[in-house]
Amino acid sequence: MSPTGTRSSEVTAPAYPMARECPFRMPDGYDRLRTDGPLSRVTLYDGREVWLASGSAEGRALLLDARLSVDVRHPAFPALTPQFAEQSAGGFTPPLSGVDDPEHALQRRPVIPAFGIRRIAALRPEIERTAEALVDAMLARGDRADLVPAYSLPLACAANLALLGVSEEDGHYIGTRSRRLLSPAAGDEEGAAQRILDEILDRLRAVVARKEQHPGTGLIDELIAGPAAEGGMDRDQLVALCMVLMASGDDSTSSTVAASVFALLAHPEQLERLRGEPESIPGAVDELTRLTSVIDVLPRVATADIEIAGHTIEAGEGVLISLMLMNRDPGAWDDPDALDVGRRAGRHVAFGYGVHQCVGQNLARAVTETALSVLLRRVPTLRLAVPVEQVKANPPYVLQGGMSELPVAW
């Protein structure tokens, strides 16, 4: 340690992000953040200190506050990892998630109908057929499987592609690349992110061009016939929007399904309760989504001074809002770290809060509910194939609670 270093600062502002070991437990270090108060300071990989909001009320207030920006081009925007900083420096601004109102509202409005509850309800039979077919294939192959590649990921991808109106082949090409962008390999050479991004955008341009000639039924077709045809969205904006819609629903939903199944298998009494009352699955999915909070942290940058909880967040400071900590605030939830499938958990913030709240959440819920109900019904003897401690969350990147494997047997 440097004799003239910033020791006191290191003591007060712990390094962040903190790796989550168990997908349904808080990382080591979160207990301290939670007891330190609703707002505390953490240190990013580049040594910069930023605010971290852990309180439920404070996090909601901040996520509703227009003085916090999602614009990654802002020079003070907090990057959680060097890879994220490199992607932002490349100049690509993701539509929806990386754009502030009022521009964001204009992008979001034409996307909302496809994710409305009526349209999602109409998609449920197809999601259920896909889930049944994946279970058929899994059971036919033997008495064990890795649930992520065999079930949760293909199901989440298929549902997303059906909604967007994209073929399986295009979906596979784009999905493998976008997942790599969201969780880049440590050894990726410099410039890899830009190359992968270009490949995705090229392929989506081809998808859009084909659909212009041969319209289909899906959200992308609606965007082509609606805002794009009416001049409200040019080709580049349309393609970038498609990329965000393609990339946002696969890993996040797959990981929520996998983490939910894992949490249930690790809490047999809760699992039994759910098996006895399958009508409780939607409520249980709220609770499992709350507990696992797969997308934990929302980064923002302050564009003006904000007074909150006795602190001043100054203009130009970074703010991280931890959805997992908000979802485990003892002031908002009784016994917050416990899994209770009977809990009324519908007001959780695992999908975010404010105008940027996940646009695909109704689809994500439909997939997670269907995934659980089909799996529990079809594989009644499902169990973990390894000890609970061996099941790990991915290293933190965008999806702090991401899961890429879940070994199960039956």
Binding site: L63, R108, P113, A114, I117, R118, R344, R347, Y353, V355
Partner: protein, 68 residues
């Protein structure tokens, strides 16, 4: 703006999260465009605690519940 007794919704703010339709399905629904609508007569027989929870849970605070 849609008003039913003590409940007021601002459909222009609605982002279609369906938080309200799931918490209080007798009071709130969505139209074909995924935007919130009040169900006729729903507010009269609603469980007040569920409506308040829906108002609290609404991610854009598009629901106002007037007391008294």
């Amino acid at each position: 703006m849609d008003v039913d007794g003590s409940i007021e919704i601002d459909a222009d703010r609605c982002i279609g999260s369906a938080t309200c339709t799931r918490l209080a399905p007798d009071v709130f629904t969505q139209d074909d465009d995924g935007v919130v609508e009040l169900l006729p007569g729903g507010a009269a027989q609603a469980d007040g605690s569920l409506v308040r929870e829906a108002a609290l849970g609404c991610p854009v605070q598009a629901i106002t519940v007037r007391v008294g």
